[in-house]
């Protein structure tokens, strides 16, 4: 029987259950606080971009900085907040003092947002900046939800595709991983964009100066990005897999998120990568 599509619109073309605009949620359970931006044109088939803040935890800034791109390109923004009190070392996937797990908390947050907005479950389009990029990379190695596109910008250091080093430096078992496994083949199957400013060479207080990181990855974010990019493509070649990691250098850009989004086109680069 033919359906009258005007009377029974496809679920995907229906508007989301959320009002358009900026919204926030206070955690009621094990999920995270979050900010979200729903563009006016959003439907239940609109792509969801999850953007993870750095250690300054400016999630609201993430939601707002992506909002005009969300309007132009029709995606929904979800910016969770890994509070310092609950998960001080979320970027390393370490549990907080009360046992809160950043991986589980993110998955519960995404699940909650999909339920309240009416979005279907779908592979993640995940972006992280600085500490958030460390989290996003490690989530793609370890997390339960599939990731279809990954964009990392200006991480301070990396989990290297090294099976000998313990996680989070490498892929080997560690107390942080517990029962989980860092799956390098899974990561190599994901298209990954790594963006870093060509001027992101300041060794500021937030930069990891661990001797192992300095010797294996380099002294600046720029140098570490180059080393990880080479290591990832080497790991792909060694396994006979296509190289799916791209490196994008931002001329004139340093480490400031606002500046990189507003002056150096980081938002456009990331959104195009994740959506197209």
């Amino acid at each position: 029987m033919l359906r009258n599509v005007e009377q029974t619109p496809l679920l995907e073309s229906q508007p989301t259950a959320c009002s358009p605009g900026l919204l926030a949620h206070r955690a009621e359970g094990a999920e995270l606080d979050y900010f979200a931006y729903v563009p006016r044109c959003a439907t239940r088939s609109s792509p969801l971009v999850v953007t993870v803040h750095g250690i300054e935890r400016l999630a609201l800034q993430h939601a707002i900085r992506f909002s005009s791109l969300a309007e132009q390109m029709g995606f929904i923004v979800l910016a969770p907040v890994f509070s310092k009190a609950r998960m001080p070392r979320y970027q390393r996937l370490e549990r907080g003092r009360s046992g809160d797990c950043p991986i589980t908390a993110l998955e519960l947050t995404i699940d909650r947002f999909q339920r309240v907005s009416g979005l279907p479950a779908a592979p993640l389009r995940l972006f992280g900046y600085s500490g958030g990029a460390q989290f996003a990379l490690r989530y793609a190695l370890v997390g339960a939800l599939p990731v279809c596109k990954l964009a990392l910008a200006a991480p301070g250091w990396f989990t290297m595709p090294d099976p000998e080093q313990a996680f989070p430096y490498g892929l080997a078992a560690s107390p942080t991983l517990g029962e989980r496994r860092a799956d390098i083949v899974r990561l190599l199957s994901i298209p990954v964009l790594l963006a870093v400013g060509e001027e992101d060479t300041r060794r500021d207080r937030s930069l990891n100066r661990d001797a192992l990181v300095e010797s294996e990855q380099g002294k600046t974010r720029l140098e570490r990005a180059h080393r990880w990019f080479d290591a990832m493509n080497g790991a792909a070649s060694a396994r006979g897999l296509p190289q799916k990691t791209e490196l994008k250098l931002l001329p004139g850009a340093g480490h400031d998120f606002n500046d990189n989004m507003q002056t150096h086109g980081l938002g456009e680069i990331v959104a195009s990568w994740l959506i197209n």
Partner: protein, 358 residues
């Protein structure tokens, strides 16, 4: 009529009030002592007796002390201030009152018992240009711009309302502005209604607002008594003037939500759809609960409550025992945690438990 050369000297020697800041006084050619004043008309007046207002705020923000015999350049306007004066634009240029330190000439009808009698003024006349047209603030108010349909959505507006004058709305706005700055954002601050005065705007700027504007920028001396459609349109012009660099708008509606224009704007206006989220400032817990309930009855959800009430931990606790709406700025919480309470959609259907449901 005053001769042009004398008028120029008079204007130079008079204190020019903040409320007249957008006017181009070089257009003043005559001073008409027989005109019938209207809201926004510019006048020169002589201070004849000092009362409640012993200072006048200049366009620079400086509060200049007044003395009997001083000349002041004011704008006529109504005033609705439950803790100060109720006043209307008089029908003639007979002696009237300075009813706001920002420079509002008006006729006081009633005053709060804590107020002294208003300062008396004698209007010398209303300013006219060389063509005889009255100099009214509306001449210089921003006309607003048509919004093309394909432009990005405007910034989220956090609308601050409250139980009454002096419930802590402006302090709440300033705290929200600081929170937005701490979140790495550029907040634009708007005072949507009230009486011409720089105090709140300076407060917003000192808190870190990227810009601060009020109804004076769209040509109004005050908003009391205005037709709500005209007021809604003026608010639309003000919103259209917000810088494209602003990330979020923090906007304050003056007085309490029972005030005529405020209640009308909240019940039926374009402002309802412009407001992304609403914060409520209350001086006590019962007022806070009543405000949340009244706004809910108008289809508006309050994102968080704050205001003078939060100075008292006991009062805050009383509120929270009866209403699940979050309280903000009651302690030194992390700005990100506070921010998460500021964006519950104003027009979403409430799922909160209010007093009657608890």
């Amino acid at each position: 009529m005053q001769a042009a050369s004398n008028l120029s000297q008079l204007i130079q020697s008079a204190y020019r009030s903040f409320a007249t800041r957008i006017a181009d006084l070089s257009l003043a050619a005559t001073l008409d002592p027989d005109a019938r004043p209207a809201p926004g008309d510019l006048c020169i007046a002589r201070v004849s007796r000092l009362g409640q207002h012993r200072h006048i705020e200049l366009v620079t923000g400086r509060r200049a002390p007044l003395a009997v015999g001083d000349h002041v350049i004011l704008a006529f306007g109504n005033r609705y201030a439950s803790d100060q004066f109720e006043a209307i634009v008089p029908p003639t240029l007979d002696a009237c009152h300075l009813v706001a330190g920002g420079g509002i000439a008006s006729m006081a009808l009633s005053r709060h018992t804590r107020m002294k009698a208003p300062t008396d003024i004698e209007p010398l006349g209303i300013l006219r240009d060389a063509n005889g047209a009255v100099l009214n603030l509306s001449r210089w108010g921003w006309p607003g711009v048509a919004t093309p349909t394909n432009t990005p959505a405007p910034p989220h507006m956090i609308l601050v309302v409250g139980t009454s004058m002096n419930a802590g709305k402006t302090t709440l706005c300033a705290n929200v502005i600081r929170t937005m700055r701490a979140s790495g954002l550029r907040p634009s601050a708007l005072k949507l209604t009230g009486t011409g005065s720089g105090g709140d705007l300076w407060h917003f700027l000192d808190a870190g607002a990227y810009e601060a504007m009020d109804f004076g920028n769209v040509g109004l001396a005050s908003t009391a008594g205005m037709d709500v459609r005209a007021l809604d349109a003026a608010i639309g012009r003000l919103c259209a003037a917000v810088s494209p660099m602003a990330d979020v708008i923090v906007a304050e509606l003056a007085d309490g939500i029972l005030q005529r224009e405020t209640s009308q704007l909240l019940q039926s206006s374009n402002l309802r759809s412009r407001a992304g989220s609403i914060l409520f400032a209350a001086s006590d817990p019962l007022g806070a609960i009543a405000g949340v309930e009244l706004l809910a009855s108008w289809g508006l959800d309050v994102s968080a409550v704050s205001g003078l009430m939060t100075a008292s931990p006991l009062a805050t606790r009383e509120f929270s025992a009866f209403c699940s709406t979050p309280v903000v700025f009651a302690d030194d919480a992390d700005p990100q945690q506070i921010a998460a309470n500021l964006f519950a959609p104003a027009l979403a259907k409430s799922g909160k438990k209010h007093a009657s449901q608890r």
